[in-house]
């Protein structure tokens, strides 16, 4: 962590509470593999996920496939954060180790909670959580026509590495990222 103004951040760390653009109280919390109730709520969110909002084959369709996919994400060495509105999971973001000292990032916000700033808060809190746990290189792929997602990734500090295929590959170096100590912002 440095005070370099070009460094990404500052990012909040979970738990991170805020009011969304619709005036709802949202809290972003980390999700532990032992949190069975939290995982159930996340399964419910994905089970109700608008199929047209899927990207690159995820989230999978059908509860059984959702469960097995979440098992690999939440049960392994990934970092997971969930946005909560009361007891309902409304968003999920994850950093999954790629076996090569880097992490792949993905974020999903339920269709009923989009457009009110939750995605930005969720991804920034995930990046703060990762940075606080010494995650360095983070990358993601995004379909090149998914302009809203690309704009979000750019806003939080991702840079495009490769754009020659159907997917754009973006990355960020979290090792120099600043982490907020005051988590009210």
């Amino acid at each position: 962590m440095t005070n370099d103004t070009d460094a990404p951040g500052p990012f909040p760390t979970p738990p991170h509470a805020f009011e969304d653009a619709d005036g709802r109280e949202i809290t972003v919390r980390s999700l532990a593999s032992t949190d069975a109730d939290g995982i159930e709520s996340l399964v419910a969110m994905y089970d109700d996920f608008d199929p047209s909002m899927r990207a690159q084959g995820i989230p999978p369709t059908g509860e059984a496939r959702v469960r097995s996919w979440l098992d690999t994400l939440v049960g392994g060495d990934a970092y997971n954060v969930v946005a909560w509105h009361g007891d309902d999971a409304v968003g999920h973001a994850t950093l999954v180790p790629d076996g090569d000292d880097a992490y792949e990032l993905a974020i999903f916000v339920h269709q009923d909670s989009q457009g009110c700033g939750i995605g930005t808060r969720l991804i920034r809190t995930l990046l703060g959580y990762g940075a606080a746990n010494d995650v360095g290189h983070v990358w993601l792929t995004v379909e090149r026509w998914n302009h809203a997602a690309i704009a979000l990734y750019e806003k939080v500090g991702f840079e495009t590495m490769s754009a020659e295929s159907f997917e754009i590959e973006m990355e960020m170096d979290l090792s120099t990222a600043r982490v907020q100590t005051d988590n009210t912002g």
Partner: protein, 122 residues
């Protein structure tokens, strides 16, 4: 049907080989296996040719196995057009650590440029 399967040695292409051979036996397809030089694959063309020959032999299917040199996507598209294949079959992509499907560069090129139907095996 006259089917052209392109494989470069990635895991998804070898899966496509198994499934396409199985399908050809059932449907009586006339299958040609084109082995491509895929820079994204760890397996050499010779290894892939040997593997394809043994899969065909085991299935009792008589099919041509050819090694296409040069740019894999354009060579495959060219061959499909020149020899009147009705369908090109390729592997359906690898999965990222997250589970996202990632199409290879060959598949992207063939999807956009092939003169005939392209199937991705998943």
């Amino acid at each position: 049907m006259k089917v052209l399967l392109g494989i470069g040695g990635s895991d998804d292409s070898l899966d496509a080989l198994d499934r396409t051979v199985e399908r050809a036996v059932e449907a009586g397809d006339e299958l040609t296996v084109a082995v491509l030089d895929n820079p994204e694959s760890d397996r050499s063309a010779d290894e892939v040719i040997d593997h394809a020959s043994s899969v065909l032999e085991e299935a009792g299917l008589d099919a041509d196995v050819r090694h296409l040199t040069g740019d894999p996507g354009s060579e495959l598209v060219e061959l499909a057009g020149r020899e009147g294949f009705e369908q090109v079959v390729l592997g359906g992509g690898e999965r990222s650590p997250m589970g996202k499907i990632r199409l290879g560069h060959i598949a992207e090129f063939v999807l956009l440029n092939a003169p005939v139907t392209v199937s991705l095996v998943r």
